[in-house]
Every structure is written in C-alpha cells, then in structure tokens.
C-alpha cells in the first residue's frame, strides 16, 4: 500500500527537476513509506497553483497530512512571503515552505527556512524514526 493516510505522512511538492533530485537524495537515507514525493510542478507559481487546486481539499480531509512545498528561492526572499500568502490560515501549521538557492543553502536562506524547519523537525521526527 502507499502512504498510510491514518498515520502522519508527508507529501513533498518540488518546484523543479533539481528540487526533485534533492528529494531523491533525502529519501535514500531514510527507510519510510510515509513520505510521498510528487511530480515537479514546473515553477514556483505552478507549485502554488497545484497546492491550491490539488491539495487543500485533501489536507482538510486528512488531518495527518503534512505538505512541503520545495521552492527555488533564487535569492528572491519575497517568494516565501508570496507562497505563505497562498496557504489558508487553518493549514499553516501543516504546510512547510522550504527553499534553496542555485548556489548554496546559504545563511540568508537558512534564515528564511529556520522557523519552518524548527516546526517541521518536531512533526517529521516520528515519521522518519517511528
């Protein structure tokens, strides 16, 4: 069976091919079926469109579902603010927006990610280390 929807599970929605490959590398390190990477959206705007059209209803239906939107910040700090504005208030504790730049997981980027990662860590730990 695929992810067990009655237990905490994570969907990862990557923006592009590079982010998809990052997810692959991560999943090779953890033996879990509770993380389901999704097809790359093909752009930041498409990630947000896909989230709105395909995932909001599913998240409301499945309270054990977390979703990570894996974006390419490309040094555009306002992408985080743009993205979070697309997430309904009542889902914000289960939607995580993470981003990388083309060059590095640099300091300014980590600042963006820090609060999201801190929240995510607590929720993800029991999934990766049941």
């Amino acid at each position: 069976m695929s992810v067990n929807k009655n237990r905490p599970h994570i969907f990862v929605l990557p923006e592009d091919d590079a982010n998809r490959q990052i997810v692959n590398g991560f999943l090779l390190e953890f033996q879990t079926r509770q993380i389901q990477p999704l097809e790359e959206a093909g752009g930041c705007r498409k990630v947000l469109q896909s989230f709105a059209s395909d995932h909001i209803v599913g998240m409301e239906k499945h309270p054990n579902r977390l979703i990570i939107l894996l974006l390419d910040f490309d040094g555009k700090g306002n992408r985080f603010d743009t993205a979070i504005a697309h997430v309904p208030e009542h889902l914000r504790d289960r939607v995580f927006i993470l981003g990388v730049t083309n060059t590095t997981w640099g300091h300014s980027l980590l600042c963006h990610n820090a609060s999201q990662i801190a929240c995510l860590r607590e929720l993800v730990q029991p999934i990766l280390f049941p």
Partner: protein
C-alpha cells in the same frame, strides 16, 4: 559492483560500454528498440557461463551478430571489484567461414591485471603462482566450449571461485507474473529472467540463508500490512507450493501464491532481491522495467527500496519508460540509450551531458531527448 561492462558486435551493441563504474544504482532509458533489454541479455550470457553453460551454441548464435558483421568477433568484457581486487573476464567468439557454430577466439580471467588463465582458440594456459612459465599447465579445450565453467577451482578462496560465484549470482529480472505459480520441485540460487521459478528461488534462499526471512517479512509487511505468513508446504514427494496468509482483526485468509495479483507478485520478487542481496551481497541486480504491473503510488517506493538497499554495496540497474520510476533517479545515474535505426548501433550518453529543457519526463514524451 560492475566497474566496466563492454560488449562488441552483439546484436545492437557495437563498441558499447555501460558507464557503470562508481554507480550503486543506475537507470537506462530510451525509446523502444534502443537496446536497454539487450544489455540485460548480454549480462545473462555471462551469468549462464558462470552457472555452467559452456556450449557456445547455447550462449550466442550466428543470428546474434550485429547486422552484416559476421566477420567481426563478438566480444564481452566485464570488470568487477571484489574484496578490494579487480577482476576482469574477457571472452571473444568468432564465426569462421563454413562454420555453423561460433567458436572461442579468446578468453581470459585476470585479477589485478595478472592472468588466472588465458586462452587462444583451443589452447588454454593456466597461470599458477610459484611455477615457472614453462611448467604452467597448458591444455586444449574444444573450441566450441567455454573454459570458465570447466577449469577446476582449487578452493573456495581461489580467485576463479570468487569471481564465478559473483557472476553466477547476478540477478537478471524481466518478470512475467502470470507465469509464476509458486510451485517448486527443486531449488535455485537465482531465478530465470521471467522469475517463473520463483518457488525454487524462495526455497533455496530459505534453506540456505533462513535468517533472510526476516528481511522478506520486514519489506512485505510495509507493502502489505495484513500479511501474516508465507508458507511453503510439501505437496508431494519433493514438491512444494507457496501459500500466503493474510489476517486482520476479523480473521485470516490463506491463498495460493498463484492467486496473488501481478503487482503483489512483483512485491514478492522485490523482497527476495533484498533478501538475496543481504545473504550473498554484494550482488548486481538488473531489473528490466521494475515498474511493470505496479500501481502508480507504489512505483517510487519500490524503486527507492532497491536503490537504498544497494547504496552501500552491489549495484541496482533498472530500465524504464515509466515517469514515476524515472523520477526516482537523478541526472548523475540516468543514461540514455539511442540508435538512429535498426541498422545502426546503440549509443549511450549520460543524461547530465544532454541539454534537457524543462522536466525530463516531458522531454521524453515530446521525443526531444536525443
């Protein structure tokens, strides 16, 4: 792990080298007829040799030459690193005029560059440490017979024995679930590509390495949480038939293996690959289209389970046309096979060397990759 696999003049593979070095898992993609399955067939020939098939006619036939190239030898070369030593086996076969069956032109096994034996046509030369060259054994073998299976191994630690065991354990899979009924009247350490002898493979693993049942059980219970037990009872003299028991809070149900769904049989095959790798690793597994018969939400999990298992040792080689399977590999370990027509040889190129616009699967669908 295969360091190098070179094939020349065999079907569509001419001067073909699989870029396997340093890759714990790799994916071969390409259009229908681009030669992906033929790579597995070439590996299967070498495995058959290691498992004792030595009549040339049972390995390569005149029709297997590349089109119009019967005057050029067919050549297979494989290099692997085992226990920190580099093993290389080379076999070349030719079809002289008026011959109906190919004969051996050249054959040799080397370890770290030093020959274990060499052969030219019928003449085999064994190299023994401590012996002067003139005193080393030389003998003649029918030139329609491969020497590797018939040279006596000195011990379990003999390089010849180590290499043959490794080569004989390569898993080459192209499962046809409808042919798999779970019955067995013998044991086998490796299945046929169709895996129709799954029962014999299961029986061997469980009798030779019973501890691997835990690995089989662990994997299958993730995929089928209601699985309780796999039974392999005797159904006659020397014959067994697999049965699968499922259970939940309401009760239990035992069904014959043959009645499992095709995809469920593939989960079983995957479980045995993981178990065989644990028992006999480092192994190489070539699985032609592991996504076949699986539901979309299972494909990625199965591919990643295999990639993960082979990450620290051995090698997992997959071919695929399936978007979900393709997405579970990366640019670094994806290779594109291509040929312009049925008359031309296969060209293999790393995906990272190709300019892909947008996503890879989209490029494949558009036919824009090569």
């Amino acid at each position: 792990m295969i360091r190098r696999f070179y094939v020349h003049n065999y079907r569509c593979l001419e001067n073909f080298e699989l870029p396997a070095s340093g890759q714990s898992s790799l994916l071969l993609i390409g259009k229908n007829g681009s030669g992906k399955t033929t790579v597995g067939l070439a590996l299967w020939i070498l495995r058959k040799i290691a498992r004792g098939t030595n009549r040339v006619d049972k390995l390569v036939k005149p029709k297997d030459f590349a089109p119009g190239r019967k005057d050029v030898p067919v050549r297979f070369e494989i290099q692997t690193e085992l226990g920190g030593r580099l093993y290389e086996y080379v076999i070349a076969l030719e079809l002289p005029k008026n011959f109906k069956e190919l004969r051996i032109l050249e054959e040799r096994l080397t370890v770290d560059g030093a020959p274990v034996y060499t052969r030219e046509k019928a003449q085999v030369h064994l190299v023994r440490a401590g012996l002067e060259h003139a005193k080393e054994p030389t003998f003649r073998v029918d030139w329609h017979l491969v020497a590797l299976p018939i040279i006596q191994e000195l011990s379990h630690a003999d390089p010849l024995s180590i290499f043959k065991r490794w080569l004989a354990r390569i898993l080459i899979l192209r499962p046809t679930p409808s042919l798999i009924n779970g019955d067995s009247d013998h044991e086998t350490p490796v299945p046929l590509p169709s895996v129709k002898n799954f029962g014999a493979w299961f029986s061997h693993l469980l009798s030779d390495a019973p501890a691997t049942y835990a690995r089989i059980d662990e994997y299958l219970k993730q995929v089928m949480p209601d699985l309780r037990n796999i039974k392999n009872p005797l159904i006659g003299t020397g014959s067994r038939s697999l049965e699968i028991e499922f259970a939940d809070a309401k009760g239990s149900l035992t069904i014959p293996f043959k009645d499992l769904a095709d995809g469920e049989k593939c989960f079983m095959i995957c479980a045995l690959v993981l178990a065989a790798h644990q028992a006999y690793g480092p192994t190489v597994c070539f699985w032609d289209e592991p996504d076949n018969y699986l539901a979309p939400d299972e494909i990625g999990h199965l591919v990643l389970a295999l990639r993960r298992a082979f990450q620290s040792s051995g090698q997992f080689i997959a071919t695929s046309h399936n978007p979900e399977a393709i997405r579970r590999f990366s640019d670094e370990n994806t290779f594109v096979l291509h040929r312009r027509s049925h008359l031309e040889p296969v060209i293999v190129r790393p995906l990272r060397e190709l300019q892909v616009n947008g996503d890879l699967v989209g490029a494949l669908i558009r036919g824009d990759l090569v």
